[in-house]
């Protein structure tokens, strides 16, 4: 019986794959035909000579700085809002606030950054401000949830001791809970920052500044040489961030 159900499931998966190819009407034979391959080859060839003139490299550098600034500020804002929302979400101020803030965090987190960016472009106009806000909103949802979980799992005894000695709740939080919590919070923030740098480089596709906007504009103008420089810059950015985070993790976290 169990085997039969598994076989049915596998048949269902195969059916779903075939159905999706049929539904999309993809003609893989035509995509792989000689003429379309030749067209794609010609298209790829135009990317092989990136524009490395000094002027353009300076523009790319500025774009990369913009991307970095967007991701850093977005993550920082998200950390602040995240901790503000995580306190009620961890059940510190009673259950009505707890469920309300959880709902808010889930809603923020469920909508992808790019959708937030498209909405923020309406609110804030074209430019990096929209990207920063979009990153901040989505990351608030993610970090808020992670922070709330960390808050729930942190040992309550130090804070209770301060309360029993007559310290007020704020002091108890700052000197009893936060020192235990801080390394974990910092690790989460850095991890999200890493993700956000990658995300910030593509948010520009909907007009939210940074390297993505340069890529979108140059592809729209059929300037493939410039576009390939931007793609190279994105790759370099991602590799540098990966390398830095791997190095710092080995150096500082493992110890």
């Amino acid at each position: 019986m169990n085997r039969l159900i598994n076989l049915l499931l596998i048949a269902g998966i195969a059916l779903a794959v075939i159905a999706s190819f049929v539904y999309l009407g993809l003609d893989l034979g035509e995509l792989g035909s000689a003429t379309s391959l030749r067209q794609m080859g010609a298209y790829v060839q135009r990317f092989l000579s990136p524009d490395l003139s000094a002027d353009y490299l300076r523009a790319i550098f500025h774009g990369s700085l913009e991307t970095l600034a967007m991701s850093a500020l977005g993550t920082l804002l998200a950390a602040v809002f995240g901790i503000v929302l995580a306190l009620p979400a961890a059940g510190r101020f009673g259950w009505p606030l707890q469920s309300a803030s959880r709902l808010l965090l889930n809603a923020l987190r469920a909508i992808p950054e790019l959708v937030w960016a498209a909405l923020m472009v309406l609110a804030a106009g074209l430019g990096p401000n929209a990207g920063t806000l979009a990153l901040a909103l989505h990351t608030t949802g993610v970090l808020g949830r992670l922070f709330a979980e960390a808050l729930e799992n942190t040992p309550p005894q130090p804070a209770e001791a301060i309360r029993l000695q007559g310290g007020n709740p704020l002091l108890a939080f700052c000197y009893g809970t936060l020192p235990n919590l801080a390394p974990q919070l910092l690790a989460y923030i850095l991890y999200r920052w890493e993700n956000n740098i990658r995300m910030a480089s593509v948010l520009g596709f909907v007009g939210a500044g940074g390297l993505g906007q340069m890529l979108y504009v140059s592809l729209s103008l059929f300037q493939e040489a410039q576009a390939s420089t931007v793609i190279l810059a994105m790759l370099v950015l991602v590799f540098v961030v990966d390398w830095l985070s791997a190095w710092s993790r080995q150096r500082w976290v493992k110890a």
Partner: protein, 274 residues
């Protein structure tokens, strides 16, 4: 007796660190033109009116049919993309992995220099495929094969074959190597050694990672619609451009339901098949 001391010994270093961080981030505020004011309600009438339209979500029949079509298209893009990605990822994973190295089987798990050298091109290809974000691939393919779901399928196929190939290779290497090595040294072919020595140990891990990636592919295919690769994303983009708040709200709701359903389905598949 202990004396009450209200001084915080760590206050100065903290203050200095904060000031340093602010000094470092200050140019960033200029670069990113940060302005939180736009989030406040009725700072701009246009945005306020747009958000006010969110309730009630659009639910006339013609729009619901459009929504159903877009949802099916999103699902189909993710599934077809994953199927194509597997076609490339499985051979690439086998080629890139050290688990089936003949020299490793007879030298205590360390492959020869030549073997490492020959595996590098495949590894490099996988790195290249996955380090360009999928939405950039989608943008390039929209220019190459035209607007529509084909660009989305190809973009998912390319990025995910890079990720899956790398992870497969690592999963093959992380399991117990002795069964496969024993088979290889007894003279079996590499594919047979893989199928009877490695695969039984790693099948459940491979499956659960693949199902997880399918879930990610659904989310990615929604996002890729924004550059014109079909599905729900393209519909959101259109509705936002037409300032149709109600439509945006119902598409977002539909997206949430889709993600939740995919989550449940992948849980079911993992529970049944592993």
């Amino acid at each position: 007796m202990l004396k009450a001391d209200s001084r915080d010994p760590a206050a100065w270093p903290r203050l200095l660190l904060t000031l340093l961080a602010i000094a470092l981030l200050w140019p960033g505020i200029q670069l990113s033109e940060l302005d939180l004011g736009v989030l406040l309600p009725d700072s701009q009438n246009e945005m306020g009116r747009f958000v006010a339209q969110f309730w009630p979500p659009a639910h006339d029949e013609a729009f619901l049919q459009l929504l159903l079509k877009a949802t099916l298209q999103t699902l189909a893009i993710a599934t077809a993309g994953m199927a194509l990605a597997l076609l490339l990822a499985i051979p690439a994973g086998l080629l890139a992995s050290r688990a089936l190295s003949l020299s490793a089987a007879s030298h205590g798990g360390v492959p020869s220099r030549l073997g490492c050298l020959l595996r590098w091109p495949v590894r490099g290809l996988l790195i290249f495929l996955r380090s360009v974000p999928e939405i950039v691939w989608a943008l390039l393919f929209v220019r190459a094969v035209g607007l529509g779901p084909a660009a989305g399928v190809l973009a998912i196929a390319i990025t995910y074959s890079g990720m899956l190939g790398k992870v497969y290779a690592e999963i093959f290497e992380s399991t117990d190597q002795r069964p496969a090595h024993a088979l290889l040294q007894a003279g079996s072919g590499r594919l047979a050694a893989f199928a009877y020595g490695t695969l039984p140990n790693v099948a459940s891990e491979l499956l659960s990672y693949t199902v997880y990636r399918w879930e990610c592919a659904i989310r990615a295919s929604v996002v890729m619609g924004f550059v014109g690769a079909g599905g729900l994303g393209q519909q959101i983009d259109l509705s936002i451009r037409m300032f149709a708040g109600g439509e945006v709200a119902s598409i977002l709701l539909c997206f949430l339901v889709l993600v939740l359903a995919a989550d449940q389905l992948s849980r079911l598949l993992r529970w049944r098949l592993t």
